[in-house]
């Protein structure tokens, strides 16, 4: 099926994965697994989609459709890391910097060495063992971050440590890629060339980091505040900023992930960062789905059954060995048992880079396709199982604790304090026009906890109560304003669609809602939808006006 175009292939991907996701809702399977399964179904099994495997990191494939899909996948990864950057400011990363470097590097060394020995013991050749060991070493940033974003635990202590570790590993991946690419052609194995590319990577990292920091401190605040007047401009500007960094990172020989992350981080301090995050999220969801489906579609399962024993052993090594090493390193750095455990669980899978490593080895001819399918099997197993482990990490922790498995690490038993308080019994006021502001002010003075919401940050500037920039149409706002726990939701907006939807959602949640009925025309709909109170500004305005006239002696005697 060579004539399939981009719209068709994306269409097939989305329709099939939506069907699978909706059918498997009850089973609470992580969507990542379902996307990869979709890819496997469409690619290797049914042969509907043919996605060219990436030849190297960031390289372009020659197949037209495959190339565009790859760009879409790259967009997804970049947006994901951009989101991560938006969530984590540099200070928050710096707090965990030491442990991230220590654990990141430590784990790479340990896993690589032990993995190599394990592979030799499983009777692979030295060359095969080198490739297998490096494939086992790295964990998948994309998988973990996607799950953390989904769980909304990116900003927890363990989430931050995990992100720090992945950033360190991303740098190591670049080194490893250069090294492994050289294995096939001995002439480029010189020490000088290696050192040069290393220096280039670190210089690039330094430059980008510098630019990001300077920009976020001195350059970005005013232009972005201006752009935020229109949500469309803000979104496109930020995406542009993100992708300029991605391209710059690629030019400097860094991974696009690092570029996107730094771009996000430099915007994290801005007032609009929170709103921006919500706006980027659906875009990311769309493109990352394409990424995972194409990942599944390009898996080579050819002769996977031959090495099933090795596959299982190596998977177990990644699933248990990696967290074990981590647990040990992090607990040594003085973090509590719970945090150490949560962080360690995140590394129990191999990365999408592992497939690239193996594919590279196959193309240069130093390993056979059987190794590639072995890596694919290990990847599938570990990504699927670790997705479950991360999603249910709290339950898993309680289990391991009860079984006494964690005692041997002698981790400190103290609990790091996490700020997870959410609002309760507050009043949400949407739309800071004259009515909204007045209502927010009056309720605030009455001693209520008031949360004022508007899409325009400028309108929230002078309010004394709590404020949040955002579009109440956005489903994630429902959680962020903790609407289910509010005692009242008020909309002063003069936008019919938004008011109707808000009324509907409040009814669903069983929260009382007062809506601005700014025109006779909207009243019937709002009544039917079950608004508890209609702020009939026209009617009360009329009464007030006549009273004013009366006071001034202007009405008939």
């Amino acid at each position: 099926m060579g004539e399939i175009n981009l719209v068709q292939s994306i269409g097939i991907m989305i329709v099939v994965s939506a069907a699978i996701v909706m059918l498997c809702r009850r089973a609470a399977i992580p969507t990542i697994v379902l996307f990869i399964v979709t890819g496997l179904l469409l690619g290797p099994f049914l042969n509907i989609l043919s996605v060219a495997p990436a030849d190297a990191h960031g390289g372009d494939a020659d197949v037209p459709g495959g190339g565009a899909l790859q760009v879409a996948g790259e967009l997804g990864i970049a947006l994901l890391l951009f989101l991560v950057g938006l969530e984590l400011s540099l200070d928050r990363i710096r707090e965990v910097g030491r442990v991230a470097v220590l654990a990141g590097l430590g784990q790479v060394v340990f896993t690589a060495v032990i993995g190599f020995v394990l592979c030799i013991l499983l009777q692979f050749t030295v060359m095969e063992s080198v490739f297998l060991a490096s494939a086992l070493t790295f964990s998948s940033t994309v998988v973990v971050v996607k799950l953390l974003v989904q769980k909304k635990e990116l900003n927890t202590l363990y989430g931050r440590i995990a992100v720090g570790i992945f950033l360190v590993q991303d740098l190591v991946v670049i080194v490893a890629l250069t090294f492994l690419a050289g294995l096939g052609k001995p002439e480029s194995m010189e020490f000088g060339a290696m050192a040069l590319s290393l220096i280039r990577a670190f210089l690039g990292m330094g430059t980008l980091l510098g630019v990001a920091m300077i920009a976020s401190k001195y350059l970005l605040a005013r232009p972005f505040a201006w752009a935020a007047r229109s949500t469309e401009t803000l979104l496109i500007w930020s995406l542009c900023w993100c992708f300029v960094f991605v391209v710059a990172a690629e030019v400097m020989g860094l991974s696009p992930e690092i570029g996107a992350f730094l771009a996000g981080m430099s915007l994290a301090q801005l007032g609009c960062a929170h709103d921006l995050r919500r706006r980027v999220q659906p875009l990311m969801n769309f493109f990352i789905a394409i990424f995972f489906v194409s990942l599944g579609a390009q898996m080579e399962l050819g002769d996977a059954m031959e090495n099933w024993a090795a596959g299982i052993i190596l998977s177990l090594f990644v699933l248990i060995g990696n967290p074990f090493i981590f647990m040990w390193i992090i607990a040594k750095s003085g973090y509590g048992e719970r945090t150490s455990f949560m962080t360690s669980v995140t590394v129990a899978q191999i990365s999408e880079f592992s497939f690239i490593f193996a594919a590279m080895g196959v193309t240069t001819g130093v390993i056979g396709t059987n190794i590639l399918s072995l890596v694919t099997v290990v990847g599938l197993i570990t990504i699927a199982i670790s997705a479950y482990m991360i999603l249910y990490n709290h339950i898993l922790y309680d289990w391991c604790r009860r079984l006494g498995l964690l005692r041997m690490f002698r981790a400190p038993q103290h609990q790091e304090v996490e700020c997870t308080e959410s609002l309760q019994g507050h009043i949400v006021v949407v739309g800071m026009n004259g009515l909204g502001r007045e209502a927010a002010r009056m309720l605030h003075e009455r001693g209520e906890t008031v949360l004022a919401v508007d899409t325009d940050g400028r309108k929230l500037a002078e309010l004394k109560c709590m404020t949040m920039v955002g579009d109440i149409d956005d489903p994630s706002m429902i959680e962020e304003v903790s609407m289910a726990h509010a005692k009242l939701v008020i909309s002063a907006l003069q936008i019919e669609d938004t008011n109707n939807l808000l009324t509907f959602r409040c009814r669903q949640l069983g929260v009382p809602v007062a809506i601005h009925a700014f025109d006779r025309f909207v009243i019937d709909d709002l009544r039917r939808l079950g608004a508890d109170f209609l702020i009939d500004s026209r009617a009360v305005g009329s009464v007030r006006l006549v009273m004013q006239l009366d006071d001034a002696g202007l009405v008939a005697p």
Partner: protein, 523 residues
């Protein structure tokens, strides 16, 4: 990836520019794309083709989702009248112009279809900026645009199969109708179940919405219909409340992204037009600007809109729709249309959209209203004295009128809505039809001799004009918030704000029917 970044940089620059200059972004985005071609940094064409098709699908999908007949409110009849007649007349005019310029009749049909509709994106943006969504004319215009969108898509389905003979036309009509039935059934049963009853989380909701889009696009493709038909019907399948609201929240940023990229890529994939193309473009723009306003004014007045509202509607609708780009792209895609015609239609769209920002202004409206031949207002009884003039008395102000009458005032009402005038006349209220900001109407009601003039007109500009026209009288103007009140006061009127009493009424309700805050208040 680098190409994507180039396009993004271009659109980021343009969006900034459009915000700064207060011009609509769509024509500027296309111009930026053309600029990329001229400087030969345009991305290669397969990439552009892919982006164009995806963007097109999202554009039409979003339009389909807005298709809710209730948007037109009470102006449904006017909306259908304006939408349908403008579509037919402009289509015929465009086709005639194209034939006169020596194109084939088939190309002429595409050109006609291309300029037959007005732009939803542009008009909605202006209506939103001026807060005119709820004025009768705003509703009529919005409804007319929806009618036109639907007509263009239907016509496109037919036109794309005309070349293959009558059998193919019948087949595509049957296909469109049955796909439409699917969309209706989906909107009725499947969509509420999937997106509301199951309470999907964000990611699932997004996936379902996009799956609906691609499913309909796929079905349309399978039936050999243009993909725009599929995308539009997919939009309709998700257009019922509250499904549309739930989906809209998810899709906003996706469509922002794809539309920006779509318009730039479109510009970048255009041929540089020759003299003949530029001539045809000029003629089409001229026709749109000259024919549309009078045409719409005549229909709108027939349908019962006031003179001024009709003129405003006419000026607002005098541009080419973004759907003309879709017509042209799909025409080229099917091999029915020469790529030079894509350039013609795109340029026509760009120029006419830009012109709208300069034509559809208050000052032009007033000038045209003065030129309008038939402006005789009906005389009322003997000239009153010591009366109250109430300018604007729609259903929102009925309570005000009742209170004034209850206190025994002589009230003279001016309103531009014929339905309102009719209803008030039946109740025996003295009322004339006209615009409260019109000098002659004010003379008619003896505004200068009135005790008080109360204005409930929505637009601040109208009220400022009113205050300029009758200086020195007591004019009470209804204003929503402090901001409006300040402007009214500065112009010499007495503002009566609604926000404050409204907030007080809310607070009263809160105090009587909700439990008090648990923590003790400080004050």
């Amino acid at each position: 990836m680098k190409e994507m970044v180039l396009i993004l940089i271009a659109s980021a620059g343009v969006l900034g520019l459009s915000q700064w200059l207060r011009l609509p972004p769509v024509p500027l985005l296309i111009l930026a794309g053309i600029g990329m071609t001229l400087t030969s940094i345009a991305p290669e064409s397969t990439m552009l083709q892919n982006v164009l098709m995806l963007g097109l699908a999202f554009l039409v999908f979003a339009a389909g989702m807005e298709l809710d007949p209730r948007r037109a409110g009470r102006q449904r009849r006017a909306a259908i009248g304006i939408g349908l007649i403008q579509f037919l007349v402009m289509g015929a005019v465009g086709a005639a112009a194209a034939i006169a310029m020596g194109t084939s009749w088939f190309t002429a049909l595409y050109v006609g279809l291309g300029i037959s509709a007005s732009s939803t994106i542009i008009v909605v943006r202006i209506l939103r900026q001026r807060r005119q969504f709820f004025e009768p004319f705003g509703r009529a215009v919005l409804g007319a645009l929806l009618v036109q969108d639907a007509l263009v898509i239907l016509a496109l389905a037919v036109l794309s199969s005309v070349a293959a003979g009558a059998g193919a036309v019948a087949f595509s009509v049957i296909g469109t109708v049955s796909l439409g039935a699917c969309a209706w059934a989906f909107a009725r049963w499947a969509a509420p179940f999937l997106l509301v009853r199951l309470k999907p989380d964000q990611e699932e909701g997004l996936l379902v919405a996009l799956a609906v889009l691609f499913m309909f696009v796929g079905l349309a493709d399978w039936l050999d219909l243009p993909i725009a038909v599929g995308a539009f019907l997919a939009g309709i399948a998700l257009s019922s409340f509250p499904v549309n609201g739930i989906v809209r929240g998810q899709l906003t940023s996706l469509s922002n992204f794809f539309l920006a990229v779509f318009f730039v890529s479109l510009g970048a994939s255009l041929d540089i037009p020759g003299l003949r193309e530029i001539m045809l473009t000029a003629i089409l723009v001229f026709l749109i600007v000259v024919v549309t306003p009078p045409l719409v004014v005549v229909i709108a007045e027939r349908m019962g809109l006031s003179t001024r509202a009709s003129v405003e509607a006419g000026l607002l609708l005098a541009q080419c729709s973004e759907f003309s780009l879709i017509v042209a792209i799909l025409g080229v895609d099917r091999g029915h249309l020469d790529t030079s015609m894509l350039s013609v239609l795109a340029l026509t769209t760009v120029v006419s959209m830009m012109l709208t920002s300069f034509i559809a202004t208050d000052s032009v409206v007033w000038k045209l209203v003065q030129w309008h031949p038939s402006r005789a207002t009906k005389r009322i009884g003997p000239p009153p004295k010591d009366h109250i003039v109430l300018l604007g008395c729609g259903s929102n102000s009925r309570i005000l009128l009742d209170l004034l009458l209850l206190q025994g005032n002589t009230v003279l009402v001016v309103d531009e809505d014929p339905a309102v005038v009719e209803a008030l006349r039946e109740r025996g209220v003295d009322v004339i039809r006209g615009d409260g900001a019109d000098e002659r109407v004010l003379e008619e009601v003896r505004a200068r001799e009135a005790r008080v003039i109360i204005s409930t007109m929505r637009r601040i500009e109208d009220n400022e004009r009113l205050l300029r026209l009758i200086r020195g009288r007591i004019v009470v103007v209804r204003a929503f918030d402090e901001h409006a009140a300040k402007r009214i006061a500065a112009a010499g009127g007495i503002p009566a704000t609604e926000a404050e009493p409204a907030a007080e009424s809310l607070l009263h309700w809160v105090t009587t029917s909700l439990p008090r805050a648990e923590k003790t208040s400080v004050a």
